[in-house]
């Protein structure tokens, strides 16, 4: 912690110094290069997008952008090794669940001063601010966000006179009707290797994954509410047979693949998956729809609001230039354009409101989900460890495979979460 405080003090001084000389004129960065890491695959046409950004940035600051694309799968390791070897970029896209972790290690610079000065403090999407905050400082500028909702086959629903369900019972009944009507298709995927697809049923039942009381975290996974939610979710597979034997070990990629192949009638997926579905199987154009994950009786079940931050590294010697780039990317036209190309939502609240007004049937349900029922995983530096250890997938999978009862599995998972968050 001492290191953190010191680094914050250093940055504060640096920020003051920078603002002092910043009055002299905007384009002092002639000839400088700003290195940036961006995740690959978010935007199918990222190359041309960043060509535009590069020339705009050059015009505005005189500095050159060096954009490198990093695979999601190897990104975490790459960050760690670059931190170890002092070869971090100036700015990087950080997954919203990683930001707190890297900030705690002292690798990222706090951005509060700059955000305050730019007047953006009250114009950021809350869930992303929460995820990027550590001890009252924001270490990641909200860039884009997304949520998962239920994606369904509109053509199949219409063929059998079904309408999108608005309660858990309705979801189950729709599934049972589809099982009867379309025996070759799996009505609703309950994958055993995905936490994000299980969370809505835990949150929807009114439980929390973990809550902080004083200095200790306690998990609500073994509460009666959570057990009810987990039981409903897994019973869709175990009792009603609405899922498939294979789905017991599916991850989200498998869910997407099977939906693309036409094996699934309903599945929980992210808004960003829509372009991929239509690209891989153009026949589904016009045949798919989405609806927010229903609540137990009515309303919506909360879904994980995840996304990416743009973070400035503590080791960067170009803090002012770095912030200029971050501000350009995450606000205004550039941010809106990125969101539109990727089927994500912007991290700037005013832009999100604009996007939520969309009438696109593949955007509106996700926007509703995000605005009405988007939520964050517990903001604890140890939550990354819980995800890495696959605590919740292990719980769901052991119930689906019949290894553990709901009570046993939820109890074990709650114990493990508490151990990991409280650092044993």
């Amino acid at each position: 912690m001492r290191k953190l405080k010191r680094s914050m003090a250093v940055t504060a001084v640096a920020a003051l110094a920078l603002t002092a000389c910043g009055n002299g004129g905007g384009s002092d960065a002639e000839g400088e290069t700003l290195s940036v890491w961006i995740m690959e695959g978010t935007n199918p046409d990222a190359e041309s997008f960043f060509q535009g950004v590069k020339s705009e940035f050059k015009e505005e600051t005189g500095a050159t952008l060096d954009v490198q694309f990093v695979q999601w799968a190897e990104a975490h390791d790459k960050f760690v090794t670059s931190i170890a070897g002092n070869t971090t970029p100036d700015v990087a896209e950080t997954g919203s669940t990683w930001t707190a972790e890297f900030a705690e290690a002292g690798a990222l610079a706090p951005l509060d001063e700059q955000i305050e000065k730019a007047g953006l403090k009250d114009d950021l999407v809350e869930g992303l601010v929460e995820a990027g905050t550590l001890e009252d400082s924001l270490y990641g500028m909200p860039w884009y966000a997304g949520v998962r909702s239920v994606v369904y086959r509109k053509d199949i629903f219409e063929k059998h006179g079904l309408t999108p369900p608005t309660s858990w019972d309705g979801l189950r009944e729709a599934g049972l009707a589809l099982k009867e009507a379309e025996p070759d298709m799996t009505p609703f995927a309950v994958p055993g290797d995905s936490a994000y697809l299980a969370y809505p049923f835990i949150w929807g039942a009114g439980a929390e994954l973990a809550e902080q009381e004083g200095d200790t975290w306690s998990s609500g996974l073994d509460s009666p509410e959570a057990r009810e939610g987990v039981k409903f979710y897994t019973d869709l597979a175990v009792k009603d047979g609405l899922s498939s034997a294979g789905a017991t070990t599916w991850n989200e990629k498998d869910v997407l693949d099977n939906f693309v192949k036409g094996n699934l009638s309903m599945a929980t997926m992210g808004s960003w998956a829509m372009p991929a579905i239509l690209e891989q199987n153009p026949d589904l154009e016009g045949k798919i729809g989405a609806f927010p994950i229903p609540g137990p009786e009515s309303g919506y079940s909360p879904s994980f609001l995840g996304g990416s931050h743009l973070s400035v590294f503590e080791g960067s010697k170009k803090q002012e230039l770095a912030w200029k780039f971050v501000e350009m990317m995450t606000t205004g036209e550039t941010a809106a354009e990125w969101a539109e190309q990727t089927n994500y939502f912007p991290g700037q609240a005013s832009l999100l409101e604009e996007a939520a007004k969309s009438d696109d049937p593949l955007v509106k349900p996700f926007a509703t989900q995000m605005v009405e029922a988007g939520t964050s995983v517990p903001v604890a530096p140890g939550w990354g460890a819980v995800e890495a250890k696959k605590t919740v997938p292990a719980m769901i999978q052991s119930i689906l495979s019949g290894d553990k009862s709901v009570d046993q599995a939820t109890e074990d998972a709650a114990t493990e979460i508490e151990e990991l968050l409280n650092g044993k």
């Binding site: 290690a105 094996n263 990354g384 495979s401 990991l420």
Partner: protein, 325 residues
């Protein structure tokens, strides 16, 4: 394994310069040079080995005595905690009930399966004529040439619960009423890994043993046949003793490979952490440490694995050469 050799062989220049000097043993100076010469010649290779193998090994050992996380990586500070990581490894019930039994049990089955199948294929190859030997050994090579990741995905696809050909066949002939997921149960999960590893590992054994077989004296085999020994007797009384060193190499290498098998388990459905009953030492080390930035703990597991393999190799090599005397 080949890197140091290559690196060593890549510097023949100084050797050529000193090469033509005839061996002279006059004076103590000459004597010292002649004892030093092998070491001088070995120096480049040893230096490369030290940098590439010894230093990382020492680092792993040092890190295993520390609580080493992201914070230590950022700050570059060390944080020694003595044997705490090892204590935690040995105190974890998962080590004794899941990880070690899976690692050791699987290695025994896989080494046994690979060596037996490989030897049988080698015997088959040895009895074929030249044309058929070429055809069969090329076919065998294909299995060897397949990258581990690709091979694993093929087996996953074959055993897929909903649309895999194994389930379709079993359901077709009425042995299975509804689709069965082979990856949720510890035994069937490892059965698939076993098939994958044996399929991928037997060609190496077959080719190596075949090379040995071709060197077995034909006269002795013929003499034994005349004396009335059957094929099994001939194998165990003549072929096997001759091939003992070959089997030693094959078994030790297979043991090392099968102990530290990672990709074939990690990539199978449930193998990356959501099915805790299928962890082996490698996957456990990765999931417990790398994914959670607990590098000290992960290093302790890695050291444990290394020590285990060293012990097995030493014991095996010793018994083997003792018997030979």
């Amino acid at each position: 394994m080949t890197t140091p050799t290559k690196a060593g062989a890549a510097r023949p220049a100084p050797r050529a310069a000193t090469g033509p000097t005839p061996p002279q043993r006059r004076g103590p100076g000459r004597l010292r040079l002649s004892t030093a010469r092998p070491w001088l010649l070995l120096a480049p290779a040893l230096a490369v080995l030290a940098v590439l193998l010894l230093w990382p090994l020492a680092r792993v050992l040092l890190i295993s005595f520390q609580d080493y996380g992201l914070r230590e990586i950022v700050s570059g500070r060390s944080n020694y905690i003595g044997f705490a990581n090892y204590a935690e490894v040995f105190a974890d019930p998962a080590l004794w009930t899941v990880v070690l039994p899976n690692t050791v049990g699987f290695a025994v089955a896989a080494v046994g399966g690979t060596v037996i199948l490989g030897t049988l294929v080698a015997l088959l190859l040895a009895s074929l004529d030249r044309v058929w030997r070429t055809i069969v050994s090329s076919a065998v090579m294909v299995a060897w040439a397949m990258p581990a990741v690709t091979g694993t995905y093929v087996w996953i696809w074959i055993f897929d619960a909903d649309r895999g050909i194994v389930n379709q066949f079993l359901q077709g002939v009425g042995l299975l009423d509804e689709p069965h997921n082979w990856f949720t149960d510890r035994w069937s999960f490892y059965a698939v890994v076993l098939v994958n590893i044996i399929h991928h590992g037997f060609p190496f054994v077959a080719i190596t043993v075949l090379a040995g077989l071709l060197g077995v004296s034909k006269e002795m085999l013929e003499a034994a046949t005349v004396d009335g020994a059957g094929a099994v007797r001939r194998f165990f009384s003549i072929t096997f003793p001759t091939l003992r060193p070959v089997f030693a190499v094959v078994v030790i290498l297979s043991t090392i490979w099968d102990f530290k098998v990672f990709a074939q388990i990690y990539l199978q459905p449930g193998g990356s952490g959501s099915n805790r009953s299928v962890f082996n030492l490698g996957v456990w080390s990765y999931v417990e440490s790398f994914a959670q930035n607990r590098y000290g703990f992960g290093s302790a597991i890695a050291v444990l694995l290394t020590v285990l393999l060293l012990a097995i190799s030493v014991v095996y090599v010793r018994t083997l050469f003792k018997e030979e005397k």
